[in-house]
């Protein structure tokens, strides 16, 4: 094989192959970097909110002066819910179910003399909308323990407001999760005591959330039995950036509680920009492939007499094609490795910046990007191998 290579390497143009390698490298780096950047940056938008699924928005009615005074008109009537359900942007719709009984909770560490007690309320949404470890997020009749998700605001209010001014210790989310709440429930002349366990904090759900199974049961047990209409709805949409949502909400006087729609738009723009960048990368890669094809055509053309003689003295076409195939495989592998190295260097630089800007950001791995790189390598190499084989086949058949 050494002798064959000695023959076939004649006329290899270092310039052409360097050109291919550079162009392929640039294309590959742009594609991989674009994808990786999107992966890293989009984690800013999904941030800590791990137990609410992605494209959900919470809908309420605007609180006007009249409704504030009468205490009516803030809940959604069945007809309104049905109308919203039928909108083309709606994928599914869930209702917030309020508790029909009164709740008080106390918490604290008796041995150090700190004890809080407060009136509170419970709400629930269907479990499908709570993307939380289901083994913790459930309730069976007779259980003493009720899992609870609190708004993160509550903790901030305590830590940065109350605790700060009173010189009390600040509590981290982990510590809170270890504390159990004493829950008292009263209604219809009955009362009950339960343990509450805080399993998570939410930025988006501004309510005290308990599993629906618990509330269904407790409303029956302690509630008046009157039909309660939800004042909040949770909506799964196909695309939060759909402008029909904003228009519909405006017409009906609905509001969303969070900036989900804004985030959706930002992610959409990010996707577009990354899409354009990756398209440019793909274009460059395709052009690089074209350069390589031309170089190989030229090389095979210049060496066609040698190739023909090798075939005539008994070398098989695949054996003759192999050195060139190996050459392109080698180049592609070098490009892949270099692209990963460049990716790591650039990523290290921008991740530092991202972490400085968003201390809470959870940076993911590069697994998917590595996979894309390898898939690209395989695709480009496959094309190279195929084209070389065809070119040698032409010489074999003497079709030129």
């Amino acid at each position: 094989m050494k002798l064959v290579w000695k023959l076939l390497r004649q006329h290899i143009s270092i310039g052409q192959f360097t050109g291919f390698t550079m162009a392929n490298l640039i294309g590959m780096v742009i594609i991989l970097l674009g994808f990786q950047f999107y992966q890293d940056v989009s984690s800013i938008f999904s941030s800590k909110e791990s137990f609410m699924k992605k494209d959900y928005i919470v809908v309420t009615k605007q609180v006007g002066a009249v409704s504030a005074l009468t205490g009516k008109g803030n809940s959604f009537a069945p007809a309104e819910i049905e109308a919203l359900e039928k909108q083309p942007f709606t994928r599914s719709l869930g209702q917030f179910l309020p508790a029909d009984f009164s709740v008080s909770a106390s918490m604290g560490m008796k041995n150090i003399g700190i004890q809080f007690s407060t009136e509170m309320f419970f709400e629930s949404v269907p479990d499908d909308y709570v993307d939380y470890n289901s083994s913790q997020w459930n309730y069976r009749e007779g259980d003493e323990l009720i899992p609870i998700i609190l708004p993160r605001n509550y903790l901030n209010l305590y830590n940065f407001g109350y605790a700060q001014t009173r010189g009390l210790p600040k509590l981290s989310e982990n510590v809170i999760s270890m504390i159990s709440l004493d829950i008292s429930i009263r209604g219809q002349g009955k009362s009950g005591h339960y343990q509450g366990k805080i399993v998570g904090f939410s930025n988006r759900l501004n309510t005290i959330l308990v599993p629906k199974a618990f509330l269904d049961w407790a409303n029956k047990e302690y509630g008046s039995g009157e039909k309660v209409y939800p004042s909040r709805l949770i909506l799964e949409v196909s695309n939060p950036t759909d402008d029909r949502i904003a228009k519909y909400f405006q017409d009906k006087g609905y509001e969303t509680e969070d900036d989900k729609l804004e985030q959706g738009k930002t992610i959409w723009f990010l996707k577009i920009v990354v899409g354009i960048v990756m398209a440019v990368g793909i274009l460059i890669t395709v052009l690089a492939l074209y350069i390589l094809m031309l170089s190989i055509y030229l090389l095979v053309e210049k060496n066609s007499a040698k190739l023909e003689n090798l075939l005539l003295i008994g070398y098989s076409p695949s054996r003759v094609a192999w050195p060139y195939q190996l050459l392109t495989l080698g180049l592609n592998a070098i490009v892949l490795v270099l692209a990963f190295i460049i990716l790591m260097i650039v990523r290290k630089y921008y991740v530092e910046m991202l972490e400085a800007l968003y201390p809470d950001i959870i940076i993911g791995g590069i697994g998917k990007t590595v996979l894309i790189g390898i898939v690209l390598f395989i695709m480009v190499s496959f094309m190279n191998v195929l084209v070389i084989r065809q070119k040698i086949a032409v010489i074999w058949e003497r079709k030129d």
Binding site: L312, I313, P317
Partner: protein, 215 residues
């Protein structure tokens, strides 16, 4: 492969002279048997190199049929041809088809490495006998055509064969070297029980040909 059968074969370029053809080969039924030696005598331009190319699958511009035993060579695939060229047929081309960038020895080795048919010692011995031992490390491009013919012979012997085609093998050799070349070729062919087909336009190797054919 025990025989090569030509049935009414005619190069396409002779098509218009079909009626005037007077040849023992073209438009005839002819069989080359393994173990026999043939001399194909020809005038220049009567298509002897074409004959080699057709049988070796290098060109297909002919009418009629060529069979290896009972198998039409038009039905052979790439794998079959590679196999035929490695194990059944060996050709000493008129234009030699050596690689001028490689040395004489490398030109032989590039074939022998593929087949692993002869020892290095045997190859060196042939270089010696043919009087080109001192040229084995010279680039083939710098050798005279006569020297190149001898290198090409050694290379074409570096494989097993049932038939050996020599297309004007001694055109540029002196009497002595022609004789040695003939001896080496004969002994290799006899050793393998192979057939030899030699073409010539005048000067030809002295061998006991079983048949002399006029092209």
């Amino acid at each position: 492969m025990d025989k090569i059968v030509l049935k009414q074969v005619l190069p396409m370029v002779f098509e218009e002279h079909r009626s005037l053809m007077q040849s023992d080969v073209w438009l005839q039924d002819l069989t080359f048997e393994k173990g026999n030696s043939y001399l194909v005598e020809a005038d220049s331009g009567t298509g002897k190199s074409s004959l080699c190319s057709y049988i070796f699958g290098y060109r297909k511009d002919f009418t009629g049929q060529i069979l290896f035993d009972d198998k039409d060579l038009n039905g052979l695939g790439v794998k079959d041809w590679v196999d035929v060229r490695l194990r059944s047929l060996s050709v000493l081309w008129q234009d030699l088809r050596l690689f001028p960038e490689l040395t004489a020895m490398e030109n032989v080795q590039i074939k022998n490495q593929l087949t692993d048919f002869h020892s290095q010692k045997q190859i060196e011995e042939w270089f010696e006998r043919l009087g080109i031992a001192d040229k084995k490390n010279s680039k083939v491009g710098r050798l005279s055509f006569g020297q190149q013919q001898r290198v090409a012979l050694i290379r074409s012997l570096c494989q097993p064969f049932d038939f050996f085609f020599a297309d004007e093998p001694i055109s540029h050799l002196d009497e002595r070297n022609s004789e040695i070349l003939g001896e080496i070729l004969m002994s290799e062919a006899q050793r393998q029980g192979a057939g030899i087909i030699v073409t010539s336009i005048g000067k030809h190797m002295n061998m006991n040909y079983h048949r002399i054919i006029k092209l």
